[in-house]
């Protein structure tokens, strides 16, 4: 089987971001199946270090990072760059901060 780097947007069922209270942003990657979830988990591509780089947050400031088997999901919670809805806000509900995760490429069986 040939594997090609495939973006998560073509693999996952849900890739989303949302405020979790006024001071945190939370990111969910939910997979279509246990098999897909396990394959991405095994790939070792999604790490704290990668999240730190994509979101410019030191690894020690990451509030939640984990693979959660029960829900076939990766959950990441980060501090917001500024309190929600204050001066300079660009995304009140933090609803459009997921795009860097969509673009993560995982080795995946060629279609």
């Amino acid at each position: 089987m040939t594997f090609v780097p495939t973006p998560l947007r073509d693999i996952a069922k849900v890739v989303r971001s949302k405020n979790a209270g006024p001071f945190e942003i939370t990111l969910d990657i939910i997979f279509k199946s246990k098999e897909d979830y396990e394959a991405v988990k095994r790939s070792g591509v999604i790490t704290r270090e990668l999240v730190s780089e994509l979101y410019n947050v030191p690894t020690q400031a990451i509030i939640t990072f984990g693979f959660f088997d029960l829900v076939n999901a990766v959950k990441i919670t980060l501090p917001r760059p500024r309190p929600q809805g204050g001066i300079g806000e660009t995304d009140m509900h933090a609803a459009q901060q997921h795009v860097p995760l969509q673009e993560i490429r995982v080795p995946w069986p060629a279609p």
Binding site: A20, F68, L70, G85, I87, G88, T90, M92, H93
Partner: protein, 455 residues
């Protein structure tokens, strides 16, 4: 109606009072003979201006529409209607606003209700005393609370747990409860705990139902929960929607810090050992929820302050020569505006460009570095007064319009202005400045209950 010994049924028509909900599905829920209707009205999601300026999440007209339907259902079914976090922020002001709306509807329709109001504003002096006693701590990535921020906050509320609802429902024949700021699942949890069911299952079912049928596929509004002694079941009321084990299990991810550990007033709900079973093709059974009361009872404090006045302008840019130099041009224009207003202290105002088509949504985190063929430029100015914010905004706009830049051949103007007024006053800006946990000795003393006969 009193819950039978082995089941309590709760109907939640929507995740947010004032957003409306399909009445036919609501009636399907009422036909299941629920023991209570619960609906949340609260959220900090749409920003600090509610707490900061006393605004409500939805319009009065929207609340009146939903309230009239709910009050009518309450009367017909003879079951309690519990409404939490009145107006969005759950301040005393908005509990009273909801009371007045209920009174107006009652007058119009000739109805009578026994209303319980639970208030959640917290005296600032009390917060400062508790802060000095070491009983107030930051919640998450928030600075420690400064007494000056307590003073600066327009109002401070605390999120109540289930206990104040239990207290309010202890009086006889309460028809309607309107509460100030509450943990969203609290009304549902209180009804179930009051009927003698497991608090862990009660909180978990409340946690799912407070969002309406967001746990369904596709997501919807009306949802009903059936809580029994060792499990609960959840089903959307729109026949076109389904709860699946995946959709219900995954719902607890939504806008939560952690997928399995959900902290609230009085303890932490632990969902790590839950079991989800498909009972019918639209209904899911949940068991195995646990609740850890912890060593002390804490409530979350919320507050916001005003932070000056804002004005913006909105402009388009299409010229590729200009777009290629947008950052350096804006830097120069903003520096020029600051020099022009040299009599205004530099730190007393802010000028923040938002450049859509470049990095307007993600800012420095934007991975794509090449701008689009056209840009929308919004410049946000925050200053001590509206007039000053608008004046600075105007200076930045006119300078950006006419500023020369290297290679310029479009010498008549640099930006395309779609709207008048060219500078748009936005009113007062607000910022969340209190988001802390406070330890309490008693879960009810901060939340006074008042009864009233509405007729």
């Amino acid at each position: 109606m009193v819950a039978s010994n082995d089941e309590i049924r709760i109907l939640t028509p929507s995740g947010m009072l004032g957003y409306g909900f399909p009445l036919d599905h609501f009636r399907l829920g009422l036909a299941q003979k629920p023991h209570a209707i619960t609906i949340d009205s609260g959220s900090t999601d749409s920003g600090p201006q509610k707490l900061g300026l006393g605004e409500m999440t939805c319009s009065r007209e929207a609340y009146m529409k939903d309230l009239e339907v709910l009050l009518e259902a309450q009367r017909e079914a003879g079951i309690p209607l519990l409404i939490s976090s009145a107006g969005g922020d759950g301040t005393n002001l908005h509990v009273d606003a909801f009371r007045n709306m209920i009174a107006e509807i009652s007058r119009k329709r000739g109805w009578r209700f026994k209303l319980a109001k639970i208030y959640a504003d917290i005296d600032k002096k009390h917060v400062v005393r508790e802060l000095q006693a070491g009983r107030v701590e930051p919640l998450g990535p928030v600075p420690p609370l400064d007494p000056r921020e307590v003073e600066a906050a327009t109002v401070i509320v605390a999120q109540m747990g289930a206990e104040p609802f239990l207290k309010a429902l202890a009086a006889e024949d309460v028809d309607v409860v309107v509460s100030g700021r509450a943990y969203d699942p609290a009304p549902t949890a209180a009804m179930a705990i009051r009927a003698g069911f497991d608090p862990a299952l009660a909180w978990h079912m409340g946690k799912i139902m407070e969002c309406g049928a967001l746990c369904a596929e596709p997501v919807g509004r009306n949802v009903i929960g059936y809580l029994r002694h060792d499990h609960f079941e959840i089903e959307p009321l729109n026949p076109a929607e389904r709860c699946t084990t995946a959709s219900v299990a995954a719902h607890t991810l939504y806008e939560k810090t952690h997928p399995f550990l959900l902290a609230g007033p009085g303890g932490t709900l632990d969902l790590s050992n839950c079991t989800y079973e498909q009972v019918t093709d639209r209904r899911v059974r949940v068991s195995g929820s646990r609740f850890d009361p912890g060593t002390r009872y804490t409530v979350k404090l919320e507050g916001a302050r005003t932070a000056g006045w804002r004005s913006i302008f909105i402009a388009g840019a299409r010229d590729p020569i200009f777009i290629g130099q947008i950052d350096s041009t804006l830097d120069r224009v903003i520096a020029g505006a600051r020099e022009y207003f040299s009599e205004v202290p530099q730190s007393s105002y802010r000028i923040i460009p938002h450049i859509y088509g470049k990095n307007g949504v993600m800012g420095d985190l934007e991975p794509v570095k090449t701008p689009a063929h056209e840009l929308c430029i919004i410049v946000e100015v925050a200053a001590a007064t509206q007039a000053l914010a608008t004046a600075i905004c105007g200076k930045v706009r006119t300078s950006l319009m006419h500023s020369p830049y290297p290679g310029r051949i479009a010498t008549a103007g640099n930006i395309a202005s779609p709207f008048t007024p060219l500078e748009i006053p936005l009113g007062q800006a607000c910022e969340f400045n209190v988001y802390h946990l406070m330890t309490v000795d008693d879960p009810t003393t901060l939340f006074p209950v008042r009864y009233e006969e509405i007729s």
